[in-house]
């Protein structure tokens, strides 16, 4: 073998070793990273919790195309499994994207309150759940979803499993609290008058503003008891006037930092074991 070939082989070997080393370090770091991402899916909610190869969704926006396009930006292309999907309530702007999600990814468990709806979005979702043989579980206050690493999601509302026929879907919306180290996040779905509905209101660091910033949610009283430092509004182009200027004013009065998916795009919080908390990351 010529000297040149020996050098080339050595160089290739070194490069391959470096690549493998970098890949192992990256996968290791990726497995330890926990992210909470409020996806910019227009007027609707879609929140992704990602910890290594484990993913949990709270709501799935209105459109499957938008949901999958945003998800594709945060998930490695080889990861085709979503471990848990939680539907806060059966409105189209919260479950509309799930049928497409189920057809493109393997979804292991689907959690919901038991409330159903006759809307097209819910009929399509039910059909997709049956076709994909997804495990369906009804949940209420007390259910806890523990992430394999640090962090858990605790269901605070509704207080019990709901009947299939619910006249008003928003009032049965799931409220979930995510805890990671010292960080507390509250996800309020579309729940109106939270201060009257929730049995106990404890302070949080980050609040997902209810009902895309509707004036019937996020009252001053609620904010005073919750004392959030940051608030995320999942909102898009709409004809309802979301987010309401009243809500924005209330948040500003309490010096809450407002982040909006319509103006800021996907809003990402990075949770690390070293800091033992979640911080905003672009």
């Amino acid at each position: 073998m010529s000297r040149q070939k020996v050098y080339c082989s050595f160089l290739v070997l070194v490069l391959c070793t470096v690549c493998v080393f970098v890949a192992i370090r990256w996968i290791d770091a990726y497995q330890k990273t926990t992210e909470v991402i409020f996806l910019n899916v227009g007027e609707g909610d879609a929140i992704l919790f990602s910890q290594g190869s484990n993913q949990i969704f709270i709501d799935g926006g209105r459109s499957g195309k938008d949901l999958l396009a945003r998800l594709g930006r945060h998930l490695p292309f080889w990861d085709r499994t979503i471990e848990i999907v939680i539907a806060t309530h059966p409105d189209a702007d919260h479950i509309g994207g799930f049928a497409s999600l189920l057809s493109a990814y393997r979804v292991e468990k689907f959690l919901y309150t038991g409330a159903e709806s006759k809307t097209e979005a819910f009929v399509l979702l039910k059909r997709a759940l049956v076709e994909n043989q997804t495990d369906i579980l009804k949940i209420s206050r007390g259910t806890k979803v523990e992430l394999p690493g640090e962090g858990d999601i605790f269901i605070e509302y509704p207080l019990s499993i709901l009947p299939e026929e619910a006249a008003e879907t928003n009032t049965g919306s799931i409220v979930a609290r995510f805890t990671y180290g010292t960080t507390q996040m509250l996800f309020t779905g579309d729940l109106p008058s939270e201060e009257k509905m929730l049995p106990d209101i404890r302070p949080v660091d980050i609040l997902k503003v209810a009902h895309h910033g509707s004036r019937y949610s996020t009252s001053t009283d609620f904010l005073e008891r919750l004392m959030p430092q940051e608030a995320v509004i999942s909102v898009g182009k709409n004809s309802y006037g979301h987010p309401s200027p009243d809500v924005l004013k209330r948040l500003e009065e309490k010096n809450v930092k407002i982040r909006r998916t319509d103006t800021d795009g996907d809003t990402r919080y990075l949770c690390t074991e070293i800091l033992a908390k979640c911080v905003f990351a672009r």
């Binding site: 195309k65 938008d66 999958l68 292309f77």
Partner: protein, 493 residues
């Protein structure tokens, strides 16, 4: 006059007639007067050369009459409207829209007082479980398509596909038992479905939507913002089945054929069979068939390097398509772009090959860049006229990103094959495909955030005609110069 010239003038006669009839509806008396004048001319000058004009002139008149009749039929409200009840067949692959499922149906038999010959565009509920070929007991108070935007003739846009009516809410739509035709049509679309499913499961969105668009056509799988981004970048043509995509696929088949040990000519036939199979794979919609024919024309011309034969083939293909549907020339932007892009490739490829030096580093890149430039010269004016936009970055984006397209298509195809054989086998090719597709989506996403990436333009159609007349003159001059040079070189040697 050679046979080729007679053929060329006959084709141009018909296409010219369709063009004139599409834009200016001539009064019947002018046609009669024109015919009388022409007959008088033939009697007064009974020379052989005069008779050569008979066929093109007759074809010109037929073109005018055919297209004028079609325009009249759809535009002037000769269509009956009201409630229609009967048995209908689904003739298109249902397409998911934001708020409904778009289904095109054709009447089989009616029990109402009238039965439309034209197709109906039905906005079915998204929960409707229906597939192509299905027979349905259908009842609806159909309407004529309405033009919501004065700049866009929606009614004629649908008319080019022979769709005359819209049904926004059907009072009855029950799927009937499957007959042989329905079964055949459903099986016909199985490969397309399986392909889409495999792409969806092996690549993340929106790259999966782009990959499906590149291979089986259509931008409807892309999110609205990205779709708009492709328009801004002047790249929306890559996600429509066009002559360009077909020519690429044909080239791929030739490479495979030669690798399998076929001779050049055998490989060509292998490619033609491959294209036919490919058109079946995508469900053989009319647009794909048209693109297939044009793509094969371009590919044959490139393969044999004969400009005149390529142009004749393309014109003949155009004539056949316009015989079936004369409205395509004015109202089908896909037809216009595909035709012009193919023409640009056929005309420019031999010159590019002739004028750039034989061997140097980066020759293929320069070749692609020049070919893209010539295609842009033909298609940009029509895009600007039809969509009222001009993208200053379109040329550079096309030059930089188009070379990635054949590789992205090829690796996606291998990945899908891997998925079919054994899911998991697809991961390596899918990762390469993802990398290539991500470069395209990244560039498009970045460009769409650049200010002034797209400019609004509006101009008179006469300017468009002048531009194409200018291009034609340049081509003729180049042809003359090229022939002259060739003769001189021969004589010197």
């Amino acid at each position: 006059m050679s046979k080729d010239q007679v053929f060329l003038s006959a084709c141009l006669g018909y296409i010219g007639g369709v063009f004139v009839g599409s834009f200016f509806v001539p009064p019947i008396w002018s046609l009669i007067l024109g015919t009388a004048f022409f007959i008088a001319l033939l009697i007064a000058f009974p020379y052989k050369k005069t008779f050569f004009f008979i066929i093109p002139s007759i074809l010109f008149l037929s073109g005018v009459v055919l297209v004028a009749e079609s325009v009249d039929h759809f535009r002037e409200g000769t269509l009956y409207r009201g409630e229609v009840v009967g048995t209908f067949r689904v003739v298109s692959d249902p397409e998911e829209k934001s708020f409904f499922k778009q289904v095109i149906i054709q009447a089989q038999s009616c029990i109402s007082g009238w039965c439309p010959r034209e197709k109906i565009l039905w906005q079915a509920p998204r929960t409707t479980d229906i597939v192509i070929g299905a027979n349905i007991a259908f009842s609806c108070d159909v309407e004529l398509p309405r033009n919501f935007d004065p700049e866009f003739d929606y009614r004629m846009f649908l008319a080019k596909d022979n769709i005359g009516y819209v049904c926004s809410k059907a009072s009855q739509a029950d799927v009937l038992s499957e007959d042989n035709q329905a079964r055949f049509m459903r099986f016909f679309f199985l490969p397309k479905r399986a392909f889409e499913n495999a792409v969806n499961k092996s690549l993340p969105q929106p790259e999966a939507g782009l990959a499906a668009g590149l291979i089986i056509g259509g931008s409807n799988r892309l999110p609205e913002t990205l779709k708009q981004g492709f328009v801004i970048a002047g790249l929306s043509h890559i996600v429509a089945i066009s002559g360009y995509n077909i020519a690429l696929i044909a080239q791929g088949f030739v490479i495979i054929g030669i690798a399998l040990g076929l001779w050049r000519r055998q490989a060509l036939w292998f490619a033609v069979i491959g294209i036919i199979l490919f058109i079946f794979l995508v469900g053989a919609p009319a647009s794909a068939v048209r693109a297939g024919v044009m793509g094969v024309c371009a590919f044959m011309a490139l393969f044999f390097g004969r400009v005149s034969r390529g142009i004749n083939m393309l014109l003949f293909a155009g004539v056949v398509m316009l015989l079936f549907q004369p409205l395509l020339l004015r109202y089908d932007i896909g037809f216009q772009l595909s035709f012009l892009a193919t023409l640009a490739i056929i005309i420019s490829a031999p010159y590019i090959d002739q004028f750039i030096p034989r061997e140097f580093f980066g020759r293929s890149f320069l070749e692609i860049a020049l070919l893209t430039f010539s295609v842009e010269l033909f298609v940009v004016p029509i895009i600007a006229y039809q969509f009222h936009i001009f993208s200053p970055f379109a040329l550079i984006m096309n030059i930089l990103l188009l070379p990635l397209v054949p590789y992205a298509m090829g690796v996606t195809f291998i990945s899908v094959l891997g998925f079919f054989i054994l899911p998991g086998l697809h991961i390596l090719p899918a990762s390469i495909a993802y990398g290539l597709l991500r470069i395209i989506t990244y560039a498009v996403e970045r460009l769409s955030t650049v200010p002034y990436a797209v400019q609004g333009v509006a101009f008179h159609p006469i300017l468009l005609l002048l531009w194409y007349a200018f291009l034609l003159s340049v081509i003729l001059l180049m042809r003359k110069y090229s022939t002259h040079k060739y003769v001189q070189t021969e004589s010197v040697l």
